[in-house]
């Protein structure tokens, strides 16, 4: 019988929705699953994990050296409890991408990155080449399967579960060669990019940090998250955590609206799974129109104020 261990992602306050997506993937694998919460003072987070449908047991390991998500400490803890699990899953977010390969190497196994669908307990599909090829992979049975789950491909499991929580002591020694300093976060009241149902995004055509207020005001009007192309981040108009694309966030909102984004393949990689893509660009030849469900070849500086009036 297969049994999966899911590594919970959280920020110390809230469980990240990526965890419920991993749960959906574990269910598709046909496996019972436990969730491990690593952190400091994580009672509330463990309770949120226990509510994820299908969870057998939440293992809550709270210790000072686990407060911040340093891969070295978290990996050691996961490896210490890996026995008895056929699969160990984490999300394809930066948290999971940092942590999971360290676990895999300590266990002496290869890792499957970015599972986008499941065809069997060890058969998966995953994108490579920035999503320009989808490959069927088969991982070996008989060794622990370590994998990341491509969060944009999975819906969250429900939250009507009622699993038990088991508190455990940390068992691995803390590392002293890696020290957490701080996190600078573009604190925002807007919905999180990776889970928002709607996203309004801007590109280089916005031309300044100040002009991005146009994007924010439209986003706020329709309750959307705000995103950006790599060009806009590189130009310093917005912080890096807003970047959508191959090297930024890969997202799947119901509605994605791209203003002044040309549609480089690396950006399109990040939005391919969106429900409806809307593109507004002055250049009628912009490649983004090739994949947009609704296109408008016009100047964003006139379109956004008009839209706000019509929607307000």
């Amino acid at each position: 019988m297969s049994r999966t261990l899911i590594i919970a992602e959280h920020d110390g306050k809230e469980l990240n929705p990526s965890t419920a997506k991993c749960a959906r993937c574990a269910t598709a694998i046909g496996s019972e699953f436990d969730i491990v919460v690593l952190g400091s003072d994580t009672t509330n987070i463990a309770a949120q994990a226990a509510a994820i449908d299908g969870t057998q047991t939440v293992i809550n390991i709270s210790a000072g050296h686990l407060e911040n998500p340093l891969a070295v400490n978290h990996a050691a803890e996961v490896v210490a409890m890996a026995d008895g699990y056929s699969h160990i899953l984490g999300p394809s977010t930066t948290f999971g991408r940092d942590l999971m390969p360290r676990i895999a190497a300590l266990l002496g196994v290869n890792q499957v990155s970015d599972i986008s669908s499941v065809s069997g307990s060890h058969q998966f599909k995953r994108p490579i080449y920035a999503g320009n090829a989808i490959v069927d992979v088969e991982a070996p049975e008989g060794v622990t399967l370590v994998a990341t789950v491509r969060t944009a491909s999975w819906k969250s499991a429900g939250d009507n579960g009622n699993a038990g929580v088991e508190d455990r002591e940390a068992s691995a020694a803390p590392s002293n060669h890696t020290r957490y300093i701080d996190l600078q976060s573009g604190d925002t009241e807007r919905p999180d990019l990776q889970t928002a149902n709607r996203v309004v995004s801007g590109g280089r055509a916005l031309a300044s940090k100040e002009n991005f207020d146009l994007i924010y005001s439209l986003a706020d009007l329709i309750g959307a998250g705000a995103g950006a192309s790599r060009a806009a981040v590189d130009a310093g108009y917005v912080p890096n955590d807003m970047q959508v694309g191959q090297t930024g966030k890969i997202i799947s909102p119901d509605l994605y609206m791209a203003f002044g984004i040309s549609g480089a393949i690396q950006h399109v990689t990040g939005i391919k799974d969106a429900g409806t893509i809307v593109a507004i660009n002055k250049d009628a030849e912009a490649p983004i129109f090739e994949i947009a469900d609704i296109g408008l070849a016009a100047d964003l500086f006139t379109v956004i104020p008009e839209m706000k009036q019509l929607l307000g």
Partner: protein
Amino acid sequence: MKILVGIKRVVDYNVRIRIKPDGSGVDTDGVKMSINPFDEIALEEALRIREAGMAEEVIVVSLGDNACQQQLRTGLAMGADRAIQVGAPASLQPLTIARAFMEVINREKPGLVLLGKQAIDGDNSQTAQMLAALWDRPQATFASKMSLEEDIATVTREVDAGLETIEVDLPAVISVDLRLNEPRFVKLPDIMKAKRKPLDVLSLDDLGVSIENDIQFKHHEPPPVREKGIMVEDAAQLVAELKNRGLV
């Protein structure tokens, strides 16, 4: 201090890839190949550290068949002091790559290893983390800013929540992100000079590493195509269409 930089030969960033008709892989015949762009940034950072007087030697390392010597020569032309090719089939999975790197580390004793945060072909994003685990040393992934002082590196990492800063004791493995630097262009005289720089060839056997490519890539197919949709004339039509579809 020595710095080891990993370089992977990949299909050039600008090439639109073709999947072989039988689905067995991606066609690389006659396709332009380059250094993985993230690895180029790793090398640039290593060169800047050496130029700032904080390292004596920069060694570029690649695993692959002889074709990867082309990318190693490019690395030498950028300014690396010498190169090591670990002869191997062109396609290896990250655990084997990390094990081979570990053996090179045992021989060279670097103070710092710089790698790209992912290769743009496999998109695995695993090798640096695996290497740090095997080495039992710190990892600092997705670096967009870094500085060295004595035996400590301070690294700013691009994470989903923003910019995270950590401090690691050297030796360490750092994987680099796009905004760390802009790699220099190679000049013609440097290409000539690079031909005379040492390029050592080792085999996986020399290093005592066996190939563990146990994840099988069965079948490749193109992603589902998004159909081109409709064009509207103005903001009013756009908003009407969005309302019509229940999206706002």
